[in-house]
């Protein structure tokens, strides 16, 4: 039995057993009261969130252990790429509470979230692309959200439960770096709603890969399926001489080697390109400002891979239902 604590008295029935807290061995154990009370009641929000997200076909988490690898820029471009097809409904949920970048990157800074009878209504940058971010709740760009974990968790719960997304094909959830409150909360609140998969973003250098491994370890611990790994900022092609520079060198094989090692799909490489940074700063779509660029094409191929993986997943799920 795996649920017997190391320092438990002899003959402990285990914390999850029917006899937990009531067996004779439990008498005098300091944990007896907690065990006897049974498992803590489940947060009702988990069921409510399942109801709310029932009409969302694919729920994708964008993760990275490392900061500044381009999670938000990638999320924004993924959303833009999906939304080019006007029949596809896309939602972006930014749960980076202390550093929300989505409003800038998607060009909707200063907008406000409206409350209606059916809940919070997202900010729409396209007819089929809605966004929710803490950035919309702040009064000025200088306002800092100086919050400890519990307050962040409450807001994430509200974002998941109280936003009226309508029917969505894709809900992309952009996360802050790390493996802490925000990540634990989003995964546990979506326990019943189900996460289709996580896309893990890294840059090629070992210093980043090291942190990204931790993120993969996190996904494994919490049973979050990983759709694959994207390597961002792969190399930089000098616009004058057209030769590649490895600014962040893949000392140990970069994202691809990491993907092989942890046995997940490698979704592709995205080069460094001033056009991409510029489009993010100006809140424009790269697919409109530089559709022919190498970076747009690289993104396109990664997006196709993700789309295919989501479709495959849906097929296998509906298949299972029919059986």
């Amino acid at each position: 039995m795996g649920d017997i604590p190391e320092n438990a008295p002899d003959h402990c029935p285990g914390t999850e057993s029917d006899q937990a807290g009531t067996a004779s061995a439990c008498a005098g154990c300091p944990n007896q009261k907690i065990c006897a009370a049974g498992p803590p009641p489940e947060d009702p929000a988990i069921q409510e969130i399942r109801e709310v997200l029932k009409n969302v076909k694919n729920k994708i988490l964008i993760l990275s252990g490392k900061g500044g690898v381009g999670k938000s820029t990638f999320t924004a471009n993924l959303a833009r790429a999906f939304a080019r097809n006007e029949n596809i409904q896309v939602g972006v949920l930014d749960i980076d509470i202390c550093g929300p970048s989505m409003p800038v990157i998607l060009g909707c800074q200063g907008e406000q979230v409206h409350q209606s009878g059916s809940g919070w209504s997202p900010v729409y940058v396209e007819e089929n692309l809605g966004i929710i971010s803490v950035g919309f709740l702040l009064n000025s760009p200088d306002e800092a959200v100086i919050w400890r974990g519990p307050k962040k968790n409450t807001l994430i719960k509200q974002f998941l439960r109280d936003v009226d997304w309508g029917e969505l094909d894709y809900l992309l959830i952009d996360t802050p770096p790390g493996t802490s409150d925000e990540h634990l909360s989003v995964v546990s609140y979506m326990k019943e709603a189900g996460v289709t998969g996580a896309v893990v973003v890294t840059t090629p250098q070992d210093v980043a890969i090291l942190d990204v491994r931790k993120e993969i370890n996190f996904c494994q611990k919490l049973n979050v399926p990983i759709l694959g790994i994207v390597e961002n900022m792969s190399s930089f092609v000098c616009p004058r001489c057209n030769k590649a520079n490895e600014i962040f060198p893949p000392t140990n094989g970069g994202g691809q080697r990491l993907a092989e090692e942890v046995n997940v799909k490698f979704l592709g490489r995205i080069p460094l390109d001033p056009e991409l940074a510029k489009s993010a700063d100006q809140g424009q779509s790269l697919f409109e400002s530089a559709p022919q660029s190498m970076v747009a094409q690289a993104l396109e191929s990664v997006v196709t891979n993700i789309k295919l993986l989501c479709e495959l997943k849906q097929d296998s799920e509906t298949g299972e239902h029919q059986r």
Partner: protein, 253 residues
């Protein structure tokens, strides 16, 4: 409790927090040029950059002994990475546990005589930042260096960090703009990959010292990957020179 902090850091003359609202702007890279405490619990990078990942922390009567990468007392390092059995292990902790760990780092580590204690932080303005500032509130010489990249997206987060410093009354020494401009290895052409000038404009807007730009430099990133100290190669690189300049400015106050 505050008294205890004071005692353990009594022999530390200056404390410098390296902050940025944004991740991946090079906080840890900038930090490794002095001597330091890494409070990024979920993504510690300092040990990898100094090539001391395999080291362990020893316990002495006085408390935890930091790692001395160069064998002498010139640099003492403390990071959660030294406490992990496996480097792939994720620290999946909520705030209160992180706060407790940071408390221990400040209180239970024998820092001995230091001129500067540089503290590397994770991105954001949350548990780690509030905890460390609270812990240091009794130390008279605490100040912060803010790292950004030139992009608007990064600058937007850094503005929030400045608000944090103002609210918590931490003195800001200045702003560093990292990753500004890249000179092609082959033809020498300089490209502003992450646009240009964001750090300087921010410093002017908030009336704060601008400490300088550090260019993107593949020689430098390679050296960091190898975990080397500022040996000849890194010092000669343009990024190395820029950092040396900035360090001088900080030392002069």
């Amino acid at each position: 409790m505050q008294e205890a902090v004071r005692n353990n850091l009594e022999s530390v003359k200056n404390v410098i927090l390296v902050l940025s609202g944004k991740g991946g702007v090079g906080k840890s890279t900038i930090s490794t040029e002095v001597g330091l405490l890494d409070i990024d619990l979920c993504g510690p990078s300092v040990p990898r950059m100094l090539n001391i990942e395999e080291q362990e922390i020893h316990q002495s009567n006085a408390g935890w002994v930091p790692v001395y990468p160069y064998g002498d007392a010139s640099l003492a390092v403390m990071s959660i990475a030294f406490l992990l059995k496996n480097k792939n292990d994720a620290i999946v902790w909520r705030g209160p546990k992180k706060t407790a760990m940071i408390g221990q780092f400040v209180q239970d580590v024998v820092w001995s005589d230091l001129d500067y204690l540089v503290i590397d932080t994770p991105p954001g303005t949350s548990d780690e930042h509030m905890s460390i500032v609270e812990r240091l509130s009794s130390h008279p010489a605490t100040s912060a260096v803010i790292v950004t990249t030139p992009q608007q997206v990064a600058v937007a987060d850094v503005r929030r960090q400045l608000t944090f410093c103002k609210k918590t009354k931490v003195r800001v020494l200045g702003i560093i703009e990292n990753m500004s401009g890249f000179k092609c290895e082959h033809c020498g052409e300089c490209t502003n990959i992450f646009s240009f000038g964001g750090g300087k404009a921010l410093a002017e807007h908030f009336d704060i010292n601008f400490l300088g730009c550090v260019p993107l430099d593949s020689k430098f990133t390679k050296a960091i990957e190898g975990g080397r100290r500022s040996d000849e190669e890194t010092e000669k690189s343009s990024a190395g020179e820029a950092i040396t300049d900035i360090v001088k400015k900080i030392l002069l106050g």
